[in-house]
Amino acid sequence: MERTKRIGNIAFGICMLIASLIMIFDMEDGYRIIVYFLIVSLIYRSIKCFIYFFLMARFKTGGIVILYKGLILLDAGVFALGLDNIPISYGMIYLIIVALLSGVIDVLQADQSRRMETGQWRFQFAYGASKVVIALLCFFYLNSLRWLTYVYCAGLIVSGVTRISTALRKTAVVYIE
Protein backbone atom coordinates (compact mmCIF):
# COMPACT_ATOMS: atom_id res chain seq x y z
CA MET A 1 0.00 0.00 0.00
CA GLU A 2 1.30 3.45 -0.84
CA ARG A 3 2.53 5.49 2.11
CA THR A 4 0.17 8.39 1.34
CA LYS A 5 -2.69 5.92 1.09
CA ARG A 6 -1.74 4.42 4.45
CA ILE A 7 -1.67 7.86 6.09
CA GLY A 8 -4.99 8.72 4.41
CA ASN A 9 -6.57 5.51 5.68
CA ILE A 10 -5.37 6.12 9.23
CA ALA A 11 -6.65 9.72 9.17
CA PHE A 12 -9.95 8.55 7.70
CA GLY A 13 -10.28 5.85 10.36
CA ILE A 14 -9.59 8.32 13.19
CA CYS A 15 -12.17 10.75 11.77
CA MET A 16 -14.73 7.94 11.67
CA LEU A 17 -14.05 7.09 15.30
CA ILE A 18 -14.33 10.75 16.39
CA ALA A 19 -17.51 11.30 14.34
CA SER A 20 -19.15 8.19 15.77
CA LEU A 21 -18.31 9.23 19.36
CA ILE A 22 -19.71 12.73 18.75
CA MET A 23 -22.82 11.18 17.22
CA ILE A 24 -23.40 9.00 20.28
CA PHE A 25 -23.38 12.05 22.58
CA ASP A 26 -24.84 14.65 20.21
CA MET A 27 -26.73 13.04 17.38
CA GLU A 28 -27.37 16.16 15.27
CA ASP A 29 -23.81 17.44 15.26
CA GLY A 30 -22.42 13.97 14.71
CA TYR A 31 -24.82 13.38 11.83
CA ARG A 32 -23.77 16.64 10.17
CA ILE A 33 -20.07 15.85 10.55
CA ILE A 34 -20.59 12.44 8.96
CA VAL A 35 -22.60 13.90 6.08
CA TYR A 36 -20.03 16.65 5.36
CA PHE A 37 -17.24 14.15 5.61
CA LEU A 38 -19.01 11.85 3.18
CA ILE A 39 -19.61 14.70 0.71
CA VAL A 40 -15.99 15.87 0.76
CA SER A 41 -14.69 12.34 0.47
CA LEU A 42 -16.95 11.41 -2.47
CA ILE A 43 -16.29 14.59 -4.44
CA TYR A 44 -12.54 14.46 -3.79
CA ARG A 45 -12.39 10.88 -5.03
CA SER A 46 -14.46 11.70 -8.10
CA ILE A 47 -12.16 14.63 -9.01
CA LYS A 48 -9.15 12.35 -8.65
CA CYS A 49 -10.80 9.87 -11.02
CA PHE A 50 -11.54 12.59 -13.60
CA ILE A 51 -7.99 13.93 -13.55
CA TYR A 52 -6.56 10.43 -13.88
CA PHE A 53 -8.98 9.60 -16.68
CA PHE A 54 -8.25 12.69 -18.78
CA LEU A 55 -4.48 12.49 -18.33
CA MET A 56 -3.95 8.74 -18.47
CA ALA A 57 -6.81 6.27 -18.49
CA ARG A 58 -8.59 7.57 -21.62
CA PHE A 59 -5.66 6.22 -23.64
CA LYS A 60 -5.93 2.80 -22.02
CA THR A 61 -7.93 -0.11 -23.35
CA GLY A 62 -11.00 -0.25 -21.11
CA GLY A 63 -9.92 2.92 -19.30
CA ILE A 64 -13.43 4.38 -19.57
CA VAL A 65 -14.27 2.45 -16.41
CA ILE A 66 -12.31 5.12 -14.49
CA LEU A 67 -14.61 7.82 -15.93
CA TYR A 68 -17.71 5.84 -14.91
CA LYS A 69 -16.27 5.44 -11.44
CA GLY A 70 -15.71 9.19 -11.19
CA LEU A 71 -19.25 9.97 -12.41
CA ILE A 72 -20.85 7.59 -9.93
CA LEU A 73 -18.82 9.04 -7.06
CA LEU A 74 -19.66 12.61 -8.10
CA ASP A 75 -23.35 11.76 -8.40
CA ALA A 76 -23.37 10.22 -4.95
CA GLY A 77 -21.50 13.23 -3.54
CA VAL A 78 -23.86 15.77 -5.13
CA PHE A 79 -26.87 13.81 -3.88
CA ALA A 80 -25.40 13.79 -0.37
CA LEU A 81 -25.28 17.62 -0.48
CA GLY A 82 -29.06 17.60 0.01
CA LEU A 83 -28.92 15.49 3.15
CA ASP A 84 -28.43 18.53 5.36
CA ASN A 85 -31.90 19.85 4.53
CA ILE A 86 -33.97 16.77 5.25
CA PRO A 87 -34.98 15.13 8.55
CA ILE A 88 -32.22 13.07 10.14
CA SER A 89 -34.20 9.84 9.95
CA TYR A 90 -34.38 10.12 6.13
CA GLY A 91 -30.76 11.13 5.89
CA MET A 92 -29.86 8.11 7.96
CA ILE A 93 -31.53 5.88 5.37
CA TYR A 94 -29.11 7.23 2.77
CA LEU A 95 -26.13 6.63 5.04
CA ILE A 96 -27.34 3.10 5.80
CA ILE A 97 -27.74 2.37 2.07
CA VAL A 98 -24.20 3.63 1.46
CA ALA A 99 -22.94 1.32 4.22
CA LEU A 100 -24.96 -1.60 2.83
CA LEU A 101 -23.64 -1.11 -0.72
CA SER A 102 -20.10 -0.77 0.53
CA GLY A 103 -20.50 -4.01 2.51
CA VAL A 104 -21.95 -5.87 -0.48
CA ILE A 105 -19.04 -4.68 -2.68
CA ASP A 106 -16.55 -5.92 -0.08
CA VAL A 107 -18.26 -9.31 0.08
CA LEU A 108 -18.31 -9.60 -3.73
CA GLN A 109 -14.65 -8.62 -3.99
CA ALA A 110 -13.75 -11.13 -1.28
CA ASP A 111 -15.69 -13.80 -3.15
CA GLN A 112 -13.79 -12.97 -6.34
CA SER A 113 -10.50 -13.21 -4.45
CA ARG A 114 -11.60 -16.57 -2.99
CA ARG A 115 -12.40 -17.91 -6.45
CA MET A 116 -9.03 -16.61 -7.71
CA GLU A 117 -7.32 -18.51 -4.87
CA THR A 118 -5.51 -15.51 -3.42
CA GLY A 119 -5.85 -16.82 0.12
CA GLN A 120 -6.46 -13.27 1.34
CA TRP A 121 -10.23 -13.03 1.17
CA ARG A 122 -11.32 -13.88 4.71
CA PHE A 123 -10.57 -10.51 6.29
CA GLN A 124 -12.34 -8.55 3.56
CA PHE A 125 -15.28 -10.96 3.64
CA ALA A 126 -15.68 -10.60 7.40
CA TYR A 127 -15.44 -6.81 7.13
CA GLY A 128 -18.00 -6.65 4.31
CA ALA A 129 -20.35 -9.08 6.06
CA SER A 130 -20.20 -7.06 9.28
CA LYS A 131 -21.15 -3.91 7.36
CA VAL A 132 -24.08 -5.68 5.73
CA VAL A 133 -25.30 -7.06 9.08
CA ILE A 134 -25.05 -3.65 10.75
CA ALA A 135 -26.86 -1.96 7.85
CA LEU A 136 -29.66 -4.55 8.08
CA LEU A 137 -29.84 -4.03 11.85
CA CYS A 138 -30.15 -0.29 11.22
CA PHE A 139 -33.16 -0.91 8.98
CA PHE A 140 -34.64 -2.98 11.81
CA TYR A 141 -34.27 -0.04 14.24
CA LEU A 142 -35.52 2.66 11.84
CA ASN A 143 -38.40 3.53 14.19
CA SER A 144 -36.11 4.20 17.15
CA LEU A 145 -33.69 6.99 16.28
CA ARG A 146 -31.67 6.46 19.49
CA TRP A 147 -31.07 2.74 18.86
CA LEU A 148 -30.52 3.42 15.19
CA THR A 149 -27.78 5.88 16.15
CA TYR A 150 -26.12 3.38 18.49
CA VAL A 151 -26.12 0.60 15.90
CA TYR A 152 -24.89 2.92 13.14
CA CYS A 153 -22.14 4.28 15.41
CA ALA A 154 -21.10 0.73 16.28
CA GLY A 155 -20.75 0.12 12.54
CA LEU A 156 -18.70 3.29 12.14
CA ILE A 157 -16.39 2.28 14.97
CA VAL A 158 -15.87 -1.16 13.41
CA SER A 159 -15.12 0.49 10.05
CA GLY A 160 -12.74 3.02 11.61
CA VAL A 161 -10.79 0.40 13.53
CA THR A 162 -10.67 -1.84 10.45
CA ARG A 163 -9.34 0.99 8.29
CA ILE A 164 -6.59 1.77 10.76
CA SER A 165 -5.59 -1.86 11.20
CA THR A 166 -5.61 -2.39 7.41
CA ALA A 167 -3.35 0.62 6.97
CA LEU A 168 -0.91 -0.76 9.51
CA ARG A 169 -0.93 -4.27 8.08
CA LYS A 170 1.87 -5.40 5.77
CA THR A 171 0.44 -5.97 2.30
CA ALA A 172 1.19 -9.28 0.66
CA VAL A 173 2.40 -9.02 -2.91
CA VAL A 174 1.93 -11.43 -5.77
CA TYR A 175 4.52 -10.55 -8.34
CA ILE A 176 5.92 -12.52 -11.20
CA GLU A 177 9.67 -12.16 -11.66
Binding site: L55, M56, F59, G62, G63, V173, E177
Partner: protein, 396 residues
Protein backbone atom coordinates in the same frame (compact mmCIF):
# COMPACT_ATOMS: atom_id res chain seq x y z
CA UNK B 1 14.61 -23.72 -9.78
CA UNK B 2 13.13 -20.64 -11.29
CA UNK B 3 11.27 -20.66 -14.56
CA UNK B 4 13.77 -18.38 -16.29
CA UNK B 5 16.76 -20.48 -15.27
CA UNK B 6 16.35 -22.57 -18.39
CA UNK B 7 17.05 -19.67 -20.70
CA UNK B 8 19.17 -17.33 -18.59
CA UNK B 9 21.51 -20.05 -17.35
CA UNK B 10 21.51 -23.08 -19.61
CA UNK B 11 20.61 -21.46 -22.95
CA UNK B 12 23.04 -18.60 -22.26
CA UNK B 13 25.75 -21.20 -21.64
CA UNK B 14 24.98 -22.75 -25.06
CA UNK B 15 25.01 -19.34 -26.78
CA UNK B 16 28.30 -18.39 -25.10
CA UNK B 17 29.92 -21.65 -26.13
CA UNK B 18 28.74 -21.23 -29.73
CA UNK B 19 30.03 -17.64 -29.64
CA UNK B 20 33.50 -18.95 -28.90
CA UNK B 21 33.90 -18.86 -25.13
CA UNK B 22 35.52 -21.85 -23.43
CA UNK B 23 33.50 -24.16 -21.18
CA UNK B 24 34.72 -22.39 -18.02
CA UNK B 25 34.10 -18.94 -19.48
CA UNK B 26 30.66 -19.95 -20.71
CA UNK B 27 29.77 -21.16 -17.23
CA UNK B 28 30.72 -17.79 -15.76
CA UNK B 29 28.76 -15.92 -18.43
CA UNK B 30 25.73 -18.11 -17.72
CA UNK B 31 26.12 -17.71 -13.98
CA UNK B 32 26.26 -13.92 -14.26
CA UNK B 33 23.22 -13.93 -16.56
CA UNK B 34 21.17 -15.99 -14.12
CA UNK B 35 22.50 -14.11 -11.10
CA UNK B 36 20.68 -10.96 -12.27
CA UNK B 37 17.49 -12.68 -11.03
CA UNK B 38 19.08 -13.36 -7.62
CA UNK B 39 21.03 -10.21 -6.76
CA UNK B 40 18.56 -8.70 -4.31
CA UNK B 41 19.28 -6.27 -1.48
CA UNK B 42 18.72 -9.19 0.89
CA UNK B 43 21.46 -11.19 -0.84
CA UNK B 44 23.79 -8.19 -0.97
CA UNK B 45 23.18 -7.58 2.74
CA UNK B 46 24.29 -11.12 3.41
CA UNK B 47 27.62 -10.61 1.66
CA UNK B 48 27.93 -7.00 2.86
CA UNK B 49 28.16 -5.72 -0.69
CA UNK B 50 26.98 -2.38 -2.13
CA UNK B 51 23.19 -2.39 -1.94
CA UNK B 52 22.98 -0.03 -4.87
CA UNK B 53 24.01 -2.97 -7.05
CA UNK B 54 20.69 -4.79 -6.55
CA UNK B 55 19.41 -6.08 -9.88
CA UNK B 56 16.07 -7.44 -8.70
CA UNK B 57 13.67 -7.28 -5.77
CA UNK B 58 12.11 -10.01 -3.68
CA UNK B 59 8.36 -9.97 -3.07
CA UNK B 60 9.06 -9.04 0.53
CA UNK B 61 11.32 -6.18 -0.57
CA UNK B 62 8.63 -4.93 -2.94
CA UNK B 63 6.09 -5.08 -0.13
CA UNK B 64 8.42 -2.99 2.01
CA UNK B 65 9.10 -0.42 -0.70
CA UNK B 66 7.03 2.69 -0.12
CA UNK B 67 5.22 3.64 -3.29
CA UNK B 68 5.99 7.31 -2.94
CA UNK B 69 8.11 9.08 -5.54
CA UNK B 70 11.41 7.77 -4.17
CA UNK B 71 10.09 4.20 -3.94
CA UNK B 72 8.64 4.35 -7.42
CA UNK B 73 11.96 5.57 -8.81
CA UNK B 74 13.87 2.82 -7.07
CA UNK B 75 11.56 0.16 -8.51
CA UNK B 76 11.83 1.70 -11.97
CA UNK B 77 15.62 1.90 -11.83
CA UNK B 78 15.92 -1.78 -11.05
CA UNK B 79 13.24 -3.22 -13.30
CA UNK B 80 13.78 -0.94 -16.30
CA UNK B 81 17.57 -1.37 -16.20
CA UNK B 82 17.75 -5.15 -15.97
CA UNK B 83 14.44 -6.75 -16.91
CA UNK B 84 12.40 -4.34 -19.04
CA UNK B 85 14.89 -2.29 -21.04
CA UNK B 86 12.89 0.50 -22.71
CA UNK B 87 12.69 0.15 -26.50
CA UNK B 88 12.28 3.81 -27.42
CA UNK B 89 12.73 6.59 -24.87
CA UNK B 90 11.71 9.19 -27.44
CA UNK B 91 8.56 7.49 -28.79
CA UNK B 92 6.02 10.04 -29.95
CA UNK B 93 2.26 9.83 -30.14
CA UNK B 94 0.43 13.05 -31.01
CA UNK B 95 -1.82 14.69 -28.43
CA UNK B 96 -0.81 12.56 -25.49
CA UNK B 97 0.09 14.30 -22.20
CA UNK B 98 3.69 14.04 -21.04
CA UNK B 99 2.66 12.27 -17.85
CA UNK B 100 1.22 9.45 -20.01
CA UNK B 101 4.16 9.39 -22.42
CA UNK B 102 6.61 9.10 -19.51
CA UNK B 103 5.11 5.69 -18.77
CA UNK B 104 4.57 4.75 -22.42
CA UNK B 105 8.23 5.38 -23.28
CA UNK B 106 9.34 2.80 -20.73
CA UNK B 107 7.72 -0.06 -22.65
CA UNK B 108 10.29 -2.77 -23.19
CA UNK B 109 11.15 -3.79 -26.75
CA UNK B 110 14.10 -5.44 -28.47
CA UNK B 111 16.62 -3.66 -30.68
CA UNK B 112 16.36 -0.29 -28.97
CA UNK B 113 19.14 2.27 -28.62
CA UNK B 114 19.52 1.31 -24.98
CA UNK B 115 20.42 -2.24 -25.98
CA UNK B 116 23.29 -0.90 -28.08
CA UNK B 117 24.37 1.23 -25.11
CA UNK B 118 24.15 -1.81 -22.83
CA UNK B 119 26.46 -3.82 -25.09
CA UNK B 120 28.88 -0.91 -25.50
CA UNK B 121 28.98 -0.53 -21.75
CA UNK B 122 29.72 -4.23 -21.24
CA UNK B 123 32.51 -4.35 -23.84
CA UNK B 124 35.89 -4.76 -22.26
CA UNK B 125 34.41 -5.11 -18.77
CA UNK B 126 34.82 -8.85 -18.50
CA UNK B 127 32.76 -11.99 -18.29
CA UNK B 128 30.44 -10.77 -15.52
CA UNK B 129 29.37 -7.67 -17.43
CA UNK B 130 28.87 -9.86 -20.50
CA UNK B 131 26.55 -12.23 -18.59
CA UNK B 132 24.61 -9.32 -17.14
CA UNK B 133 24.17 -7.82 -20.62
CA UNK B 134 22.95 -11.18 -21.93
CA UNK B 135 20.23 -11.23 -19.29
CA UNK B 136 19.13 -7.74 -20.29
CA UNK B 137 19.18 -8.67 -23.98
CA UNK B 138 17.18 -11.88 -23.52
CA UNK B 139 14.58 -10.09 -21.44
CA UNK B 140 14.01 -7.45 -24.14
CA UNK B 141 12.51 -10.30 -26.18
CA UNK B 142 10.72 -12.17 -23.42
CA UNK B 143 9.28 -9.11 -21.67
CA UNK B 144 8.47 -6.94 -24.68
CA UNK B 145 5.27 -4.88 -24.49
CA UNK B 146 5.51 -4.45 -20.70
CA UNK B 147 7.20 -1.66 -18.75
CA UNK B 148 9.51 -1.96 -15.75
CA UNK B 149 7.52 0.48 -13.68
CA UNK B 150 4.20 0.14 -11.85
CA UNK B 151 1.66 1.41 -14.39
CA UNK B 152 -2.04 0.63 -14.69
CA UNK B 153 -2.33 2.28 -18.11
CA UNK B 154 0.60 0.34 -19.61
CA UNK B 155 0.90 -3.02 -17.89
CA UNK B 156 -2.72 -3.93 -17.26
CA UNK B 157 -4.11 -6.44 -19.74
CA UNK B 158 -7.42 -8.00 -20.60
CA UNK B 159 -8.05 -11.61 -21.47
CA UNK B 160 -5.37 -13.89 -22.83
CA UNK B 161 -5.88 -16.64 -25.40
CA UNK B 162 -3.26 -19.30 -25.92
CA UNK B 163 -2.75 -20.25 -29.54
CA UNK B 164 -2.11 -23.90 -30.23
CA UNK B 165 -0.56 -24.43 -33.63
CA UNK B 166 -1.81 -27.66 -35.19
CA UNK B 167 -1.72 -29.15 -38.67
CA UNK B 168 -5.36 -28.13 -39.12
CA UNK B 169 -4.59 -24.53 -38.24
CA UNK B 170 -4.47 -22.41 -35.11
CA UNK B 171 -6.70 -23.18 -32.15
CA UNK B 172 -7.31 -20.60 -29.47
CA UNK B 173 -7.98 -21.46 -25.85
CA UNK B 174 -8.85 -18.88 -23.22
CA UNK B 175 -6.31 -18.74 -20.41
CA UNK B 176 -7.59 -18.89 -16.85
CA UNK B 177 -5.63 -17.02 -14.21
CA UNK B 178 -5.45 -17.44 -10.47
CA UNK B 179 -3.48 -15.48 -7.90
CA UNK B 180 -2.06 -18.24 -5.75
CA UNK B 181 1.71 -17.63 -5.81
CA UNK B 182 2.58 -21.07 -4.47
CA UNK B 183 0.50 -23.05 -6.97
CA UNK B 184 2.47 -24.06 -10.07
CA UNK B 185 1.04 -23.20 -13.47
CA UNK B 186 -1.13 -25.98 -14.86
CA UNK B 187 -0.22 -26.37 -18.53
CA UNK B 188 -2.74 -29.15 -19.13
CA UNK B 189 -5.73 -27.15 -17.94
CA UNK B 190 -4.35 -23.80 -19.07
CA UNK B 191 -4.39 -22.29 -15.57
CA UNK B 192 -1.67 -19.75 -14.78
CA UNK B 193 -0.81 -17.49 -11.85
CA UNK B 194 -0.86 -13.74 -12.34
CA UNK B 195 -1.04 -10.63 -10.17
CA UNK B 196 -4.32 -9.26 -8.88
CA UNK B 197 -6.41 -6.86 -10.96
CA UNK B 198 -5.85 -3.44 -9.42
CA UNK B 199 -7.15 -0.12 -10.71
CA UNK B 200 -4.63 1.92 -8.71
CA UNK B 201 -2.31 3.88 -10.99
CA UNK B 202 0.92 2.78 -9.32
CA UNK B 203 0.05 -0.54 -7.77
CA UNK B 204 2.83 -3.13 -7.59
CA UNK B 205 0.30 -5.48 -9.15
CA UNK B 206 0.77 -3.52 -12.36
CA UNK B 207 4.55 -3.82 -12.43
CA UNK B 208 6.11 -5.50 -15.47
CA UNK B 209 4.37 -8.59 -16.80
CA UNK B 210 2.66 -9.43 -13.51
CA UNK B 211 -0.77 -9.27 -15.15
CA UNK B 212 0.35 -11.81 -17.77
CA UNK B 213 1.79 -14.17 -15.18
CA UNK B 214 4.69 -16.31 -16.35
CA UNK B 215 3.44 -16.50 -19.95
CA UNK B 216 6.29 -14.30 -21.25
CA UNK B 217 8.80 -16.63 -19.57
CA UNK B 218 7.66 -19.81 -21.36
CA UNK B 219 9.52 -20.22 -24.64
CA UNK B 220 6.76 -22.45 -26.07
CA UNK B 221 3.91 -20.01 -25.42
CA UNK B 222 2.10 -18.31 -28.27
CA UNK B 223 -0.75 -16.11 -27.10
CA UNK B 224 -3.00 -13.27 -28.09
CA UNK B 225 -4.10 -10.41 -25.87
CA UNK B 226 -4.89 -6.71 -25.94
CA UNK B 227 -2.22 -4.67 -24.14
CA UNK B 228 -3.51 -1.68 -22.19
CA UNK B 229 -1.54 0.79 -24.34
CA UNK B 230 -2.41 -0.71 -27.72
CA UNK B 231 -5.62 1.24 -28.41
CA UNK B 232 -7.85 -1.85 -28.48
CA UNK B 233 -5.66 -3.71 -30.96
CA UNK B 234 -4.57 -7.24 -30.14
CA UNK B 235 -1.01 -8.48 -30.35
CA UNK B 236 0.17 -12.03 -30.85
CA UNK B 237 3.22 -12.82 -28.77
CA UNK B 238 5.10 -15.62 -30.48
CA UNK B 239 7.62 -16.71 -27.88
CA UNK B 240 9.33 -19.48 -29.90
CA UNK B 241 10.21 -16.94 -32.59
CA UNK B 242 11.20 -14.27 -30.08
CA UNK B 243 13.32 -16.66 -28.03
CA UNK B 244 15.10 -17.90 -31.14
CA UNK B 245 15.88 -14.31 -32.08
CA UNK B 246 17.11 -13.72 -28.54
CA UNK B 247 19.38 -16.77 -28.74
CA UNK B 248 20.86 -15.75 -32.10
CA UNK B 249 21.26 -12.12 -31.00
CA UNK B 250 23.06 -13.27 -27.86
CA UNK B 251 25.58 -15.17 -29.99
CA UNK B 252 26.12 -12.13 -32.19
CA UNK B 253 26.39 -9.84 -29.16
CA UNK B 254 28.92 -12.08 -27.43
CA UNK B 255 31.00 -12.21 -30.57
CA UNK B 256 30.96 -8.42 -30.49
CA UNK B 257 32.05 -8.46 -26.85
CA UNK B 258 34.85 -10.89 -27.73
CA UNK B 259 36.07 -8.49 -30.40
CA UNK B 260 34.95 -10.42 -33.49
CA UNK B 261 32.74 -7.53 -34.60
CA UNK B 262 33.85 -3.93 -34.40
CA UNK B 263 30.48 -2.54 -33.53
CA UNK B 264 27.18 -3.89 -32.32
CA UNK B 265 24.41 -3.40 -34.83
CA UNK B 266 20.71 -3.71 -34.14
CA UNK B 267 18.64 -6.48 -35.70
CA UNK B 268 21.57 -8.75 -36.42
CA UNK B 269 21.18 -12.38 -35.48
CA UNK B 270 23.84 -15.03 -35.79
CA UNK B 271 21.82 -17.67 -37.65
CA UNK B 272 24.88 -19.10 -39.41
CA UNK B 273 26.44 -20.61 -36.33
CA UNK B 274 23.30 -22.41 -35.26
CA UNK B 275 22.39 -23.73 -38.73
CA UNK B 276 23.41 -27.27 -37.81
CA UNK B 277 21.50 -27.12 -34.49
CA UNK B 278 18.47 -25.28 -35.80
CA UNK B 279 15.93 -28.10 -35.45
CA UNK B 280 17.27 -29.07 -32.04
CA UNK B 281 16.94 -25.51 -30.74
CA UNK B 282 13.47 -25.13 -32.21
CA UNK B 283 12.32 -28.37 -30.64
CA UNK B 284 13.52 -27.22 -27.21
CA UNK B 285 11.89 -23.82 -27.60
CA UNK B 286 8.56 -25.26 -28.72
CA UNK B 287 8.34 -28.12 -26.20
CA UNK B 288 5.44 -27.49 -23.84
CA UNK B 289 6.97 -27.71 -20.38
CA UNK B 290 7.32 -25.61 -17.23
CA UNK B 291 11.11 -25.61 -17.42
CA UNK B 292 13.34 -26.42 -20.39
CA UNK B 293 16.45 -26.62 -18.21
CA UNK B 294 17.07 -30.33 -18.73
CA UNK B 295 16.85 -30.02 -22.51
CA UNK B 296 19.13 -26.99 -22.67
CA UNK B 297 21.54 -28.64 -20.26
CA UNK B 298 21.75 -31.79 -22.39
CA UNK B 299 22.28 -29.66 -25.50
CA UNK B 300 25.00 -27.62 -23.81
CA UNK B 301 26.81 -30.72 -22.55
CA UNK B 302 26.73 -32.19 -26.06
CA UNK B 303 28.16 -28.96 -27.45
CA UNK B 304 31.09 -28.68 -25.06
CA UNK B 305 31.48 -32.29 -23.99
CA UNK B 306 31.69 -31.04 -20.41
CA UNK B 307 29.33 -31.29 -17.49
CA UNK B 308 27.27 -28.20 -16.65
CA UNK B 309 26.77 -27.91 -12.90
CA UNK B 310 23.41 -26.76 -11.55
CA UNK B 311 23.13 -23.09 -10.72
CA UNK B 312 24.11 -22.44 -7.10
CA UNK B 313 23.38 -18.91 -6.00
CA UNK B 314 26.09 -18.97 -3.28
CA UNK B 315 28.83 -20.25 -5.56
CA UNK B 316 30.98 -17.09 -5.38
CA UNK B 317 29.99 -15.87 -1.92
CA UNK B 318 33.00 -17.30 -0.07
CA UNK B 319 35.42 -15.86 -2.61
CA UNK B 320 33.91 -12.41 -2.00
CA UNK B 321 33.68 -12.71 1.77
CA UNK B 322 37.23 -13.99 2.13
CA UNK B 323 38.76 -11.31 -0.08
CA UNK B 324 40.32 -8.22 1.48
CA UNK B 325 38.76 -4.81 0.87
CA UNK B 326 41.15 -4.08 -1.97
CA UNK B 327 40.67 -7.48 -3.62
CA UNK B 328 36.88 -7.50 -3.43
CA UNK B 329 36.35 -5.49 -6.65
CA UNK B 330 38.30 -8.09 -8.62
CA UNK B 331 36.27 -11.07 -7.36
CA UNK B 332 33.38 -12.44 -9.41
CA UNK B 333 30.76 -10.76 -7.24
CA UNK B 334 32.77 -7.53 -7.04
CA UNK B 335 32.98 -7.33 -10.82
CA UNK B 336 29.30 -8.20 -11.13
CA UNK B 337 28.35 -5.45 -8.66
CA UNK B 338 30.42 -2.91 -10.59
CA UNK B 339 28.78 -3.96 -13.86
CA UNK B 340 25.31 -3.77 -12.27
CA UNK B 341 25.90 -0.27 -10.86
CA UNK B 342 27.20 0.89 -14.23
CA UNK B 343 24.20 -0.56 -16.10
CA UNK B 344 21.70 0.91 -13.65
CA UNK B 345 23.42 4.28 -13.81
CA UNK B 346 23.55 4.29 -17.59
CA UNK B 347 19.91 3.33 -18.13
CA UNK B 348 18.59 5.64 -15.42
CA UNK B 349 20.59 8.53 -16.76
CA UNK B 350 19.38 7.89 -20.31
CA UNK B 351 15.80 7.90 -19.02
CA UNK B 352 16.44 11.12 -17.12
CA UNK B 353 18.14 12.77 -20.06
CA UNK B 354 15.17 11.95 -22.27
CA UNK B 355 13.16 14.27 -20.02
CA UNK B 356 11.55 11.47 -18.05
CA UNK B 357 12.01 11.62 -14.27
CA UNK B 358 10.40 8.27 -13.60
CA UNK B 359 13.78 6.70 -12.73
CA UNK B 360 15.11 9.75 -10.89
CA UNK B 361 18.71 10.87 -11.27
CA UNK B 362 21.57 8.45 -10.85
CA UNK B 363 25.26 9.17 -11.16
CA UNK B 364 26.88 7.39 -14.08
CA UNK B 365 29.79 5.52 -12.51
CA UNK B 366 31.71 5.59 -15.78
CA UNK B 367 32.03 9.34 -15.67
CA UNK B 368 33.68 9.24 -12.26
CA UNK B 369 37.34 9.05 -11.49
CA UNK B 370 38.55 5.96 -9.65
CA UNK B 371 38.68 7.87 -6.36
CA UNK B 372 35.05 8.96 -6.63
CA UNK B 373 34.03 5.54 -7.81
CA UNK B 374 35.33 3.95 -4.61
CA UNK B 375 33.69 6.69 -2.55
CA UNK B 376 30.41 6.11 -4.37
CA UNK B 377 30.49 2.42 -3.56
CA UNK B 378 31.33 3.24 0.04
CA UNK B 379 28.39 5.62 0.39
CA UNK B 380 26.06 3.14 -1.29
CA UNK B 381 27.29 0.42 1.01
CA UNK B 382 26.71 2.53 4.09
CA UNK B 383 23.33 3.96 3.17
CA UNK B 384 21.99 1.04 1.21
CA UNK B 385 20.25 3.51 -1.03
CA UNK B 386 19.79 2.64 -4.65
CA UNK B 387 18.93 6.26 -5.27
CA UNK B 388 22.15 8.16 -5.08
CA UNK B 389 20.39 11.39 -5.89
CA UNK B 390 21.12 13.84 -3.10
CA UNK B 391 24.20 12.29 -1.52
CA UNK B 392 26.42 12.43 -4.53
CA UNK B 393 25.42 15.64 -6.19
CA UNK B 394 28.42 17.26 -4.55
CA UNK B 395 30.67 14.79 -6.33
CA UNK B 396 29.64 16.02 -9.73
Amino acid sequence: MTVQEDFHYYATYCAAYIAGYSHEESLRVAYAAQFVDCCTKTFINKVKGPKVAATTQLQTELADTKLDLAGLREITRIWASFHFLPGDLYAHIPRRPKVYMDEYRLICNPNGDLLVDTLRLAKGKGIEACGLAMHVLADTWAHRYFAGTPSFVINDAGEFYEIHRTLDGDEEKKIRFRHNPVAPDDLEKGIFTNSINNYTARSIMNLGHGRAGHLPDYSFAVYRYVPAWMNYEAVIKDNPVDYRNAFCQMIYAMKYLRGEHEKFEKERYDEENIASYSDRIDSILRKRQLSASEDWKAFGEELSGSKIPDFQVDMYVDEYLNAGETEKPSTFLGRFFTAAIAQKGMVSNRIYRSGNKRAGIVMDINTLENMNRRRLLMIANKTGKAGLDGKNKKNR
